[in-house]
Symmetry: none
Subunit: 220 residues, 2 copies
Amino acid sequence: MHTIYLVDDEVNLNRVLVKYLEQEGWQVKSFTSGEAAASAIIEKPDLWILDIMLPDVDGFQLIKRIKAHDETTPVIFISARDEDIDKIIGLEMGSDDYIAKPFLPRELVIRVKKILARTYVTPKTGVIRYGDYTIYPEKRIIEENGQEIDLTSKEYDLLILFATQIGTPMSREQILISVWGDDYFGSDRVVDDLVRRVRKKLSKLELETIYGIGYRLVAA
Amino acid sequence: MHTIYLVDDEVNLNRVLVKYLEQEGWQVKSFTSGEAAASAIIEKPDLWILDIMLPDVDGFQLIKRIKAHDETTPVIFISARDEDIDKIIGLEMGSDDYIAKPFLPRELVIRVKKILARTYVTPKTGVIRYGDYTIYPEKRIIEENGQEIDLTSKEYDLLILFATQIGTPMSREQILISVWGDDYFGSDRVVDDLVRRVRKKLSKLELETIYGIGYRLVAA
DNA sequence: TGATTCTCCCATAATTTTGCGGAAATCCTT
DNA sequence: AAGGATTTCCGCAAAATTATGGGAGAATCA
């Protein structure tokens, strides 16, 4: 689940936007002042939505501090003033998108979805962290506190499948197709076996069995 | 089939729009006054189309009452005045779309289609909120104030059935088919049992029994 | 080729969920 | 308020699903 931090001093709009964003299942925290938002930068939300005009610390200063803290955090600007828009577009503010007031809340939701998709659909490139484990998908390596753990190829396939779908239950059918391919005709039970092996090697991985459904990796 | 309620006091436009909407196979009811429309809110159409300028109760008041009755009902505004449009977009009107007069009827039809598709085709993507509960259908998870509650697979199937059909009474027959499949030949009584178990685990879920009929999930 | 590892499968045990009978409680009708 | 129908509740047994240990065959690698 993604966390989104919203900064806007118009309390009404703020409240509405929070409602819409939460409707999508995101965890939202909202701020009405730039100063309050600034002190939350260390909490590293997955995305920021910033109004430019704020009573104290304005959006431009905020984005600088956000990006200074973590260059990759996506930011969406919202603003009413045309000159601001020009500034956002013209300068290299590092903003990932902007939206001019007035706008429909669902328009904002659409943009957030796009950006999150762009940022998180490609976890293949980055590393995945899960508790003490660090997974390097492209290298097919998993470390526990820097100590590499040996996995066989199927074990690794399974790990990646779950690690990229944390929280989502996977049926044996889905697992078979993903790990063995759709031309496998043996028994379902090999999945149990593979799960057993992975559990044994990665004891801190919460691979939960969902009776009658399949398995799921519980969020760390 | 979807039911659409249209509110516009211009009788000519009203008639034309009804024709176009019915052309799509939707069941349309039209009103020329806000008061008449207001008393039809309890009929829960799938979508409302509201003109803002009405002789008596205006569109803004109407949407408040519609959303108060059921937060999720989609609403499309139509209006001629620019200032209205600004109001719709900017403020927390909860409108799902708007369209400025004059417009082509088929433009309206397109927007209605989009919204219906969004609302009904993808109930799986969004989360469902019911009082303190948050349901993540695709993850087969339900949380009460962030605290996950364990459900068995049939219990979850039942929950989803009701949660996606809030307010609609379901017969035992329907529940059997939906949860057990149409090839189940045991007794009806298992439904009672399942309902009992779900009630026990989710005590704040208002699963009302309708004597002689079945059960219904009362809106939170 | 031989040794080692990996994968698959089977049988059995352990676990979880579900079904069912009957009694108690509740609801509706008269 | 009584009586019949319906629903709820309870606990246990049956059924379904999953975990586990062990062994055979396949693949891999030196």
